[in-house]
């Protein structure tokens, strides 16, 4: 979350409230004190004379980011030159240019472009996560709405939540007898808990006032759901979705390493077997950037649907 410039605003509104309530001596004294607080706080805010001497904030931020990346590359280069097996930035860059110049080639099931590998992984995440949403969100609603169900589910969720999703993989292989559905199943399991828990918390957080509005108007159950429950819970649900996708993207790499097939995780393992370390580093960056894009897309979605 980005820091908002909040500290000044409440002071000003408090002062306004004090003034409108009349010329009572105590109120005047309070107003003075509020003023004093406001003055004391002022230098801390960015809206002062200090700023003029400096560069604009966004420029400083961009500079800091670039500096961080540059430092990272320098350190990487230094480590690479120690004579180990780790390729330096230049080598990796060259390999990356080759790989990304043709990301969608296909020479049989074990030799496909990085684009196909990423898309296969995303597809697994999408299916597993989608199924988890289909199951988890309604379940979360019910658990949030009915205390009995909540009490029923609490020990199971508490026990299963800390289990590494990969521990479920053998069960998946046993049941589905194939690698691909087993990987999807692992994604399903790890996406499920955040979805259930956040939706349930969201339902429990709905202010009684909103429900009272629905009650005094005697709205139909369907109308209560669409006009009150769903919009009130939506921000929490999106949080659940964000956490789920984050975990799912972490887990898919590990799951694919174990199951094989086409996918970015399998690709990493395959390149390790080929001892193409620069490709592994490229995969690491690719996984990171795709994860970042997923996260950002969901942050945008959350902003779009948050009503606060």
């Amino acid at each position: 979350m980005s820091a908002l410039p909040v500290p000044v605003a409440p002071v000003i509104s408090l002062r306004a409230a004090v003034i409108t309530s009349g010329p009572h001596p105590a109120a005047a004294a309070l107003a003075e004190r509020v003023d004093a607080v406001a003055k004391r706080r002022k230098p801390a805010s960015s809206a002062t004379g200090y700023r003029r001497a400096r560069a604009p904030e966004w420029l400083m931020q961009a500079f800091a980011m670039l500096a961080g990346i540059a430092l990272f590359i320098v350190l990487w280069e230094v480590v690479a030159r120690q004579g180990g097996r780790i390729p330096g930035p230049a080598v990796v860059w060259k390999a990356a240019v080759t790989i990304f110049s043709d990301p969608f080639y296909s020479k049989g099931p074990n030799d496909q472009g990085i684009g196909w590998n990423v898309l296969s992984s995303l597809k697994r995440v999408g299916i597993g996560f989608g199924l988890a949403a289909l199951v988890g969100i309604p379940l979360g609603f019910m658990i949030g709405r009915f205390k009995f169900l909540s009490d029923m589910a609490a020990p199971i969720i508490a026990m299963l939540k800390p289990v590494s999703p990969l521990a479920w993989l053998p069960i998946g292989l046993l049941v589905f007898k194939a690698a691909n559905p087993a990987a999807i199943y692992v994604i399903f399991v790890c996406s499920l808990w955040p979805m259930i828990v956040n939706t349930a918390v969201g339902v429990r957080q709905i202010p009684q006032d909103y429900l009272n509005v629905a009650r005094v108007l005697n709205l139909s159950e369907w109308k209560v759901f669409t006009s009150v429950l769903f919009p009130a819970v939506l921000p929490y649900m999106i949080t659940g979705v964000r956490l789920s996708i984050g975990v799912a993207w972490l887990v898919i790499v590990a799951a694919e390493m174990l199951t094989g097939g086409v996918g970015i995780g399998f690709w990493v393992w395959d390149e390790w077997n080929n001892l193409k370390v620069e490709h592994i580093i490229i995969a690491i960056f690719t996984i990171g950037i795709v994860g970042l894009l997923l996260e950002q897309a969901l942050v945008l979605l959350a902003k779009r649907f948050s009503y606060n």
Partner: protein, 261 residues
């Protein structure tokens, strides 16, 4: 229509973890059609509980309530409720907040429903803010939308739970005047919970004074025989107004505080 709302021997006991808590005891009250009645008392005296009983949000553990000869069995849109904290749904515009109620109550075509909504918002002077979201408007405006929502459904009774308690003094005065005008124009029957003596005297036909809880009762009823329409400024100099005000103050701060101490 002398007994439009009948509250008959109502008692309310809450079952809590520490045993049962008697909030209200032996409440008897009749309200005429078109009458404006205020409930006043110290906080925790059960005045909001009584309002919630009329709203149907709570069921009495003793006695019964009737509105227009029909027992109050639960909440329903024949009573318009204005909550203290406005309770607008933040994901709906002001228009949609009112429309939600209108749509529920009237089985009419959309243009007519929209027309009703526009009319209700115009009545509280908010035509310009129809498409705004609650977080974009001031507290006073929010409360006006709440009033518009309650009145748009043409309820038999208007129930106000400390409607202006969270507003600053100037806004409160303005909204009180507006409410007075609206009630006079619509002839609404109103039950209002308040802890503001001036507000009670200014707006009410009768003030019901509640004793301190637990087991609160009606401690006295003051008839406010000030002629209508009332003017805030004229009343401030009126002898009768001061008398009535003193009566209520006396009840609240002498009799009830002593008992509580």
């Amino acid at each position: 229509m002398d007994r439009y709302l009948r509250i008959e021997n109502v008692g309310m006991t809450f079952e809590t973890k520490k045993g049962s808590f008697v909030a209200l005891e032996q409440i008897d009250l009749n309200i005429r059609k078109g009458e404006f009645v205020s409930l006043i008392g110290h906080s925790g005296c059960g005045k909001s509980t009584l309002l919630n009983l009329v709203a149907g949000l709570l069921q009495p553990t003793e006695g019964g309530l009737l509105l227009a000869e029909r027992e109050i069995g639960g909440p329903g849109p024949d009573r318009g409720v204005v909550f203290q904290n406005h309770s607008l749904l933040p994901w709906l515009t002001c228009f949609d907040n009112v429309y939600l109620a209108v749509e529920r109550v009237f089985q009419e075509k959309k243009p007519l429903l929209r027309q009703r909504t526009h009319k209700a918002l115009a009545m509280v002077g908010l035509t310009h803010a129809e498409s705004k979201y609650p977080q974009e408007i001031s507290g006073g405006m929010k409360q006006r939308v709440g009033i518009a929502r309650a009145l748009a459904i043409e309820p038999k009774m208007l129930l106000l739970d400390e409607p202006f308690g969270a507003l600053d003094a100037l806004t409160r005065a303005k909204l009180q005047d507006e409410l007075m005008r609206i009630v006079e124009n619509t002839g609404a029957t109103v039950l209002m919970v308040t802890h503001d003596v001036d507000e009670a005297v200014l707006l009410s036909d009768r003030i019901v004074m509640m004793t301190n809880g637990p087991a609160a009762r009606i401690g006295g009823i003051v008839e406010v025989d000030l002629p209508r329409p009332r003017e805030r400024l004229e009343l401030a100099g009126s002898h009768r107004y001061m008398e009535l005000r003193t009566t209520v103050m006396d009840f609240l701060y002498r009799k009830q505080l002593k008992q509580a101490a």
